[in-house]
């Protein structure tokens, strides 16, 4: 290591700006510094601008981590998590944290970011009043949202609106309170602000503008908000999102020059030559910064400084803003105040909800506001930054880049016309030439490649279309996203082609297939092997020997792996019905094996969580003894048939929905399918079994059974589509089995039923299952044939010794430690 000779760089703060600076530093001079980071937050560096999608539930924290723990280890960085620095001793060149850790430095970087502004009204410190700044705030809000109560968001700027949209998505009743007459007045003109307000209202968010908060009401917890006009609205949660101010407390206590922010020059130097500062905590020429693009510019300058290059300087440029609320297209950049020396061009299309405005000075764009159709934002912004004279195109400028030069350009030509330095990805500050250059230099061929190598489109994803067009431009005809997507890197063939060839060439094993279809790897990868194994199982029932080593762990050990390496076990309960005997057996198993958690699942089953792997066969033996079999809660196969109590008990029930559910489940269990299949049978259109969001559902009616399918209630939420009506139970079962078989033969591995429908179309499915009785019978018969080999309880097999090696160590030495 030789760390003793290195200079020591200490960084206070672990946000996006210092993270980017370190990346640049390690690119240029990886061995120059020994790096120590103090992070007041107890975690690694994450993408703070993506907190809104986390709040709305579209992303998880893991999705927005920029540098995982491994990154810090790789670069030999000491990261103190949850460690806030209390003081800087500039004479002895040391910093000390609240919990007493002292580190000396040769160079120090202050990146303390900003703190949310709390409006000083009575009640601002009540429980239930939160700010919106970091992951802890998001977690607090998500917890509060579980109550589905009322939330008031104070602040109608970027952050406030994103918070409001997120809380609304989480099911809260949300009111946005803004002190100005229109929303986001710093980024939008009143017209666009009005459109935005209407769009918020359309999603059920109440908007109060020109509203002055007088106090927050409540005894210990917040109960409401009172306004200057005396009106009151009730609230269980109040989010203060009125703005941020630079966090200068530490710098000021160290007597560094600071006004609103820590004063730095264009090279990020503070008043102490050994100390730099960057990010939201600084001010440069009196200006402070809150959006990510200028912070990343600062990071580049700082990295250059730390490498001894003092030519790089930070020049603030107008920054473009986007609102990260799904379904709202909004783009603004530059200065859009009216003025005598300014001209403006406005385009409105009320029916399409489009508003575009350009502000020009001396024939040059100085600001733009786009709402509804933001496709030309980067083009306008680029001309703004490059100070382009627009006189030649004045008449058609507002129509965007496609209309320039007479005939409309196609969108790809429009991207081609962008200059090299045009910014494509605002989140990560990636310009056009960086993307096209990397595509050529590294031989990239897909969107994922570009994301991995340049980070463009890897954060909020709003530039994905632009990046795809750049791929098309750079690669020409060889890039065709609608062309067949290869299964994985091991082959150029797509899923459908492989399935066709399995049957056409009678390929009956994975090694044979890899040989005949010229697989590029010796034995495939974790993507293609499970897919191929399924295709073999589905194509050659009774002949193909299932390859356990090509199945994911859950399907190999017939239980669900949990984050700590233990497993969860779910026995089948046909149609959701159980008995005292089964429940007693489950209770005994839980006690006997000290299973730490028992939970009722969404599919009307009981889940035992935290079972040790080595205990699995013994757990199954006891469950088997009570007559229970594997519930296949881990399988790409039939999971559960959920039912309501139907005509047996319910005064509204029209048919025996429970009985039909049990029949379906007993008939169809064990079938492997491309992805999981969940079913439900409801006894009447009140639909208590929630059949209309399942892969296959049955709604009983007086005249028989309405069969619906292709619903989803997971990553995507989608109601089912009607397939047909059946007059009898037997007909319903035949139709459902035939439908499932068609899906088994056409679906791509991991493609849920609703995606399969979207790909092949309703017409082809109805033609095979509904209109042509013979075809239906054909698929039904094939399903029945396949089932005779599929309905073997995997638990019983393993209780009887199959795959025993899975459940025991190869060897034991010394006293094994408990798993961490």
């Amino acid at each position: 290591m030789g760390g003793a000779m290195k200079e020591k760089l200490v960084i206070i703060g672990n946000g996006m700006a210092p993270g980017r600076a370190l990346e640049k530093l390690f690119e240029t001079d990886p061995d120059r510094y020994e790096v120590v980071i103090f992070n007041a937050e107890p975690r690694v560096n994450y993408d703070r601008i993506m907190l809104s999608p986390v709040l709305s539930g579209e992303k998880s924290f893991d999705d927005i981590v920029i540098h995982g723990d491994a990154w810090y280890i790789k670069h030999g960085i000491t990261l103190y998590k949850g460690c806030k620095v209390e003081s800087i001793d500039r004479v002895n060149k040391t910093v000390t944290s609240v919990n007493g850790i002292t580190e000396s430095y040769d160079k120090l970087v202050i990146a303390t970011g900003s703190v949310p502004f709390i409006i000083p009204v009575p009640g601002a410190n009540l429980a239930g009043v939160v700010t919106y700044r970091d992951l802890d705030d998001v977690n607090t809000m998500m917890l509060a949202a579980k109550s589905r109560g009322r939330a008031v968001v104070i602040g109608g700027g970027l952050l406030g609106l994103e918070a409001a949209a997120g809380l609304n998505e989480q099911g809260m009743d949300v009111t946005v309170v803004h002190v100005m007459p229109t929303l986001m007045e710093r980024q939008l003109d009143p017209a666009a602000g009005y459109l935005l307000g209407e769009s918020m209202k359309a999603r059920g968010i109440k908007v109060m503008t020109s509203a002055n908060t007088r106090q927050i009401l409540g005894d210990k917890r917040v109960t409401g908000v009172e306004f200057a006009d005396g009106s009151v609205i009730p609230a269980d949660l109040v989010v203060m999102a009125v703005g941020i101010r630079p966090n200068v407390a530490l710098a000021k206590s160290a007597e560094l020059a600071a006004n609103r922010g820590i004063v730095v020059d264009a090279q990020m130097r503070t008043s102490d030559p050994s100390i730099y500062a960057l990010g939201e905590c600084v001010e440069v020429n009196g200006a402070t910064f809150g959006l990510v693009a200028p912070l990343y510019d600062m990071a580049n300058v700082l990295a250059a400084q730390l490498c001894g290059d003092d030519k790089a300087t930070f020049t603030p440029v107008a920054t473009a803003t986007r609102l990260k609320v799904t379904g709202v297209n909004l783009y603004s950049a530059g200065d859009f105040a009216e003025g005598e020396d300014r001209e403006e061009i406005v385009l409105r299309d009320a029916s399409a909800g489009v508003y575009k405005r350009l502000i020009l000075k001396d024939d040059r764009i100085i600001g733009t506001v786009l709402y509804g159709d933001t496709g030309d934002g980067p083009w306008f912004y680029d001309m703004l930054k490059r100070n382009v004279d627009t006189r030649e195109m004045r008449d058609t400028l507002i129509f965007g880049q496609n209309y320039q030069g007479g005939a409309p350009l196609d969108p790809t030509a429009a991207v081609a016309a962008l200059p090299d330095e045009a910014e494509i990805c605002g989140c990560n500050g990636v310009c056009k030439s960086k993307i096209t250059g990397t595509i050529t230099a590294k031989g990239l061929t897909s969107l994922d490649d570009v994301r991995a190598h340049t980070k463009a489109s890897a954060s909020c994803g709003s530039c994905t279309g632009l990046v795809e067009k750049l791929l098309l431009l750079t690669l020409g005809d060889s890039y065709n996203p609608s062309a067949v997507q290869p299964m994985c890197k091991c082959t150029d063939l797509g899923h459908d082609e492989v399935r066709r060839l399995i049957v056409a060439k009678e390929l009956r094993s994975i090694p044979q297939l890899m040989q005949e279809l010229e697989w590029k790897t010796s034995c495939g990868c974790a993507k293609c092997r499970p897919a191929l194994n399924y295709y073999m199982v589905a194509s050659w029932p009774g002949e193909y020997e299932d390859d356990q080593q090509s199945r994911f762990i859950n399907e190999r050990v017939h239980a669900n792996i949990q984050k700590d390496g233990t497993y969860s076990v779910v026995p089948r309960m046909w149609g959701g019905m159980t008995t005292s005997g089964e429940l007693r057996a489950i209770a005994d198993v839980v006690d006997k094996f000290r299973i730490p958690a028992v939970k009722v699942t969404g599919g009307q089953r009981i889940d035992m969580l935290g079972v040790k792997k080595e205990d699995l066969p013994a757990v199954w033996a006891d469950l088997n003894a009570a007559g229970m079999v594997s519930g296949a809660a881990y399988a790409k196969g039939l999971r559960t048939v959920k039912t309501c109590v139907g005509s047996d008990w319910c005064r509204f029930g029209t048919q025996d929905s429970t009985g039909l559910g049990i029949k379906l489940e007993k008939f169809m269990w064990g079938a492997w399918t491309p992805a999981k299949v969940k079913m439900a049978v409801s006894g009447c259109p009140r639909n208590c079994a929630e059949a209309t969001c399942k892969d296959v559902g049955v709604i009983c009616v007086d005249s028989g059974y309405d069969i619906v399918f292709a619903g989803a209630a997971g990553l995507d939420i989608k109601g089912t589509e009607a397939l047909c009506h059946a007059d009898s139970e037997d007909e319903a079962i035949e139709i459902i089995a035939a439908l499932t078989q068609l899906y088994r033969e056409q679906g791509r591995y991991l493609e849920r039923m609703y995606k399969w429908l979207k790909r092949v179309g309703m017409e082809s499915i109805q033609a095979a299952i509904v209109t042509d009785r013979e075809k239906r019978r054909f698929y039904y018969d094939r399903f029945v044939f396949s089932q005779q080999f599929a309905q073997v309880d995997p638990w019983e097999e393993r209780v009887n010794g199959k795959d025993a090696h899975e459940f025991a160590a190869l060897a034991e030495f010394g006293v094994p430690q408990a798993a961490e």
């Binding site: 893991d62 995982g68 723990d69 491994a70 990154w71 280890i73 790789k74 991995a452 790897t521 010796s522 034995c523 495939g524 990868c525 974790a526 092997r529 499970p530 356990q548 080593q549 090509s550 994911f552 762990i553 190999r556 050990v557 792996i561 984050k563 700590d564 390496g565 090696h805 160590a809 190869l810 060897a811 034991e812 030495f813 010394g814 006293v815 094994p816 430690q817 798993a819 961490e820």
Partner: protein, 110 residues
């Protein structure tokens, strides 16, 4: 480095599979590839601690069952865009008998 301890026979590990050896220092995953090569690595993904022995084995690599990180069994290095490394341990196969360096077993828990 001369002391080797026998931990089992190669056919006790499924082809393209793995089994664990429990030691005082934690679990070591012992892999057998399609070409009958045997490798031993720490049974713990540096990402979220996933048990690598439960992953799918392909070529000379394994894919973690939790979040699909891929590791080279020979070097222990993460492949592709992920950054990280797992410890590797020396193993020796003689006449189908697998041996591991004795010092691995004796190592104090870290």
């Amino acid at each position: 480095m001369n002391d080797w301890i026998e931990i089992g026979r190669i056919e006790q590990i499924p082809l393209r599979g793995a089994r664990c050896v429990n030691t005082p220092a934690g679990k070591i995953a012992v892999f057998r590839t399609a070409e009958n090569h045997v490798y031993a690595i720490e049974n713990r993904c540096p990402h979220k601690g996933g048990p690598l022995s439960e992953g799918i084995v392909h070529g000379g690599s394994v894919t973690c069952p939790l979040h699909n990180w891929v590791f080279d069994l020979a070097t222990g290095e993460a492949q592709g865009a992920d950054e990280g490394q797992v410890r590797t341990f020396a193993v020796n196969v003689v006449d189908g008998r697998i041996f591991m360096a004795a010092e691995v077993m004796l190592m104090a828990a870290e």
